[in-house]
């Protein structure tokens, strides 16, 4: 059981602390989305019903559902046929905020195990080009399996260091930097998740900043970079975004990361003794009690020029 006192350092920034403390120990609902490469949401609903899979539509995203009391949805027939993909609800946010359009060239810098890459492929409808990268080739096997099952024919897979992506890879219309983090927001599915130590922060923040910087460099003018983590720590969220905004002040700006129907909080403008760029208000913080999900952070950069 997660101990709410572990997250005491965030008490001053979480408005409904008691609700938060209660929510982080509830089991996390399982969510799925219909794979538009193979089916429609109405056809999937019919199949789920035939297979006795009880699902409630998500209010903010068409074709996505919360499952009710369904054991092992990853072994059911519609899943095996690639008709749906399992993905945590809050983890669907970054791809929604990419604002994808058919035919775009998209980079997923830290793709494993691949649910967000799959969501990108499904949204693009097998048009355009997706490069899915992750340094961990073992975790990329899960991504390959998902792509095979879903029928995604427009994805290239590579295993490079995202902090040092070669320029030869070309530029992209959209880049997702869902960076490695301390995963504090995952306590509902991972009871061992805890607040990071200073050493963890130092290690992770160096990588996170480098990945985001490289992503901004590889983005085309007019394109978007979405930065996301599943942690509450401002050191890994606002601090990283703020430092990159300062470094690329004449090349990019933050645009509002908001999803109608999905309750969340704005990014922080102050943390401990630090003040952040006012644009951080456009970032999105999600706490588990707000929409019965895991914790998350998203910031959307618009590249204005190179």
């Amino acid at each position: 059981m997660a101990d709410p006192s572990t997250f005491e350092r965030y008490r001053s920034v979480i408005a409904d602390w008691d609700e938060f403390a209660e929510a982080i120990n509830r089991p996390l609902p399982v969510c799925i989305w219909a794979n538009p490469l193979k089916t429609t949401s109405s056809e999937l609903e019919e199949l789920l019903s035939k297979n006795d899979i009880d699902a409630e539509p998500l209010s903010w995203r068409d074709g996505a559902y919360r499952l009710v009391d369904t054991a092992r949805p990853g072994s059911r027939i519609p899943f095996l046929a690639g008709l749906y993909q399992i993905q945590e609800e809050v983890s669907m946010l970054p791809v929604e905020l990419l604002d994808l359009r058919a035919g775009q060239r998209v980079l997923d810098t830290c793709a494993a195990p691949g649910s967000k890459t799959s969501q990108i492929a499904a949204t693009l409808g097998n048009t355009g080009t997706i490069i899915a990268n992750d340094r961990n080739f073992r975790r990329m096997r899960a991504l390959s399996r998902s792509l095979d099952r879903l029928g995604a024919t427009n994805v290239g897979v590579m295993t490079r260091d995202a902090t040092n992506m070669p320029g030869a890879i070309g530029s992209f219309d959209r880049i997702l930097a869902d960076v490695p983090c301390s995963c504090e927001g995952t306590t509902r599915k991972n009871r061992d998740a805890t607040v990071a130590t200073d050493d963890d922060f130092n290690y992770l923040c160096t990588i996170q900043r480098a990945i985001l910087k490289r992503a901004i460099e590889l983005c085309r003018p007019g394109g978007r970079v979405v930065y996301s983590t599943c942690t509450y720590a401002p050191e890994e969220n606002e601090t990283i975004v703020d430092s990159v905004l300062r470094e690329f002040y004449d090349e990019c700006r933050l645009i509002p990361a908001r999803i109608p129907g999905f309750p969340a909080s704005p990014g922080l403008l102050h943390w401990q003794q630090q003040s952040y760029d006012p644009q951080l208000e456009h970032a999105l913080r999600v706490y588990p009690h707000q929409h019965d999900t895991g914790g998350f952070f998203v910031a959307v950069f618009q590249k204005t020029r190179s």
Binding site: D52, I53, T127, T129, D148, G151, I169
Partner: protein, 191 residues
């Protein structure tokens, strides 16, 4: 199967072919591939128009969206999905291809019952009935579907009717996939 590389002078494909070549893939002429699979499964002629077929290894042809915007480097570990195994006398579509395109097949696709489907996913042989044989043209590879959606490939041993010893399908569901399903029921039944 006799597969020739596409003419690199084809203006639509020349640049892509060059870049894929640097990635170790050779775009091949689609004619023989499409003819082979359409003959067996009676797909509509234009079903694969949005795809490039590229040889990834001696054994595998990949299906890749067209157009695709890849660069010559850095090296990709994979692109597109495995489509056709060609290292056999009678090339067969892969499980991933069957999962994607089996629903469009107008012949040699078996719509399974729950029991047959469970047998297939457990890599066991199963018998088919006369009705299921109606759209099967003869011994060879067939798609295995459930509620019309593709799950993989099987091998129909014979279409001889009224003889359970012959009209059987051998499951070619991948071992790794089947292993993942051990101790579970794909229909959610208690074990």
């Amino acid at each position: 199967m006799n597969l020739t590389a596409v003419d690199s002078a084809d203006p639509d494909l020349a640049d892509t072919a060059k870049k894929l070549n640097e990635q170790g893939l050779t775009i091949v002429d689609r004619t023989a591939i499409v003819r082979h699979i359409c003959q067996r499964f009676r797909f509509s002629d234009d079903l694969f128009d949005g795809l490039i077929f590229a040889r990834a290894t001696k054994a595998i042809i990949r299906a890749i969206s067209r157009p695709i915007d890849v660069t010559a480097s850095p090296a990709l570990d994979r692109i597109g999905i495995d489509f056709l195994r060609i290292d056999m006398a009678n090339p067969r579509m892969t499980t991933s291809a069957a999962m994607t395109w089996a629903r469009y097949a107008q012949q040699n696709a078996v719509d399974t019952t729950a029991q047959q489907c469970e047998a297939f996913l457990g890599r066991k042989r199963f018998c088919v009935n006369d009705t299921q044989l109606d759209t099967c043209t003869g011994r060879g590879f067939v798609f295995i579907r459930h509620y019309g959606h593709g799950l993989g490939v099987g091998f129909l041993e014979s279409t001889r009717r009224s003889d359970d010893n012959f009209r059987r399908v051998r499951s070619m569901y991948p071992r790794a996939y089947a292993a993942d399903l051990e101790n579970t029921s794909p229909f959610g039944n208690p074990l």
